[in-house]
Symmetry: C2
Subunit: 165 residues, 2 copies
């Protein structure tokens, strides 16, 4: 199947903000940021980038596709891990340069390559002053799968694990 990338906008702010034509704005690298939240709980699960083909495939199939910057290739979320991501609703923002995916997780319902449900498993405490070290706190950090078992020891050791989920 051939896929065509949606066009970039012509640049009319009123049309972009108040119009109904979907004209996603890609950055200089041809990418648009995408935020995935759980359709069930509203929590932020992950953040990644899409290129035009990833947007087109996501629209066509309803399965989240992204562009791996480190691997330089399109990937369907869960293609290796089985932890798929079905898009329940897709939105764009006022200036159409960000996408928001409300999703339903498949597989182990773990979104993060570390085995956790969400990539955002640590909080950053507020109140620190200038120059103070900030200590993260783990929250909702249980692993739902073991990365080594899913991705393999070799790839984990090579440091390519991050981009393979």
């Amino acid at each position: 199947m051939t896929t065509s990338a949606p066009p970039s906008p012509a640049g009319d702010p009123a049309a972009i903000e108040e119009g109904t034509a979907f004209t996603p704005k890609f950055d200089a690298d041809g990418l648009i940021p995408a935020v995935a939240t759980s359709g069930a709980t509203g929590e932020v699960l992950m953040f990644a980038y899409m290129n035009g083909e990833a947007v087109a495939r996501t629209l066509e199939t309803g399965e989240a596709h992204f562009w791996s910057r480190s691997r330089g290739k399109l990937w369907r979320k869960g293609e290796e891990s089985g932890n798929t991501m079905r898009v329940v609703e897709l939105r764009t923002d006022c200036d159409q340069d960000v996408l928001w995916l409300k999703v339903e997780l498949g597989g182990a319902e773990a979104c993060c390559h570390t085995g956790r449900r969400s990539c955002f498993y640590r909080t950053v405490p507020l109140g620190g002053g200038p120059g103070q070290a900030v200590t993260l706190e783990f929250v909702e950090a249980d692993r739902l799968f073991e990365p080594e078992q899913v991705y393999g020891h070799a790839r984990a050791a090579k440091g390519t694990l991050k981009t393979s989920n």
Copy 2:
């Protein structure tokens, strides 16, 4: 008050992913993406970027600060509109290159410069095939304030409105 930018990580994946040291990773422009969601409803409200000083100010004050790429300056959310953004919880992701802010809105409780609660007031219908035009649908798009009254006609006409909320 002087503010120091948190350091970029030394590059050890295990320390970044499994450690407790907050070492936000800024991109080549010195920025890190930040997603703001409502602490009450979980909806995504806006997406913006922070530089080191914006991160530091946000941590110190609990009020969301961002870096305006178009204006080239730090801004405290709501400094002009009154629609402030108090951070209820801050999180970072596995590789510490994204921030997630759970927030409580002040003022008119409108986050978007168009006067709407969220910047994500349009859905992108799924199911379109290659080459098909995609028509956005407005949802939750009521305006809670009139942009011209808040930001002024002159600035709206100059097209600088987007960066002033």
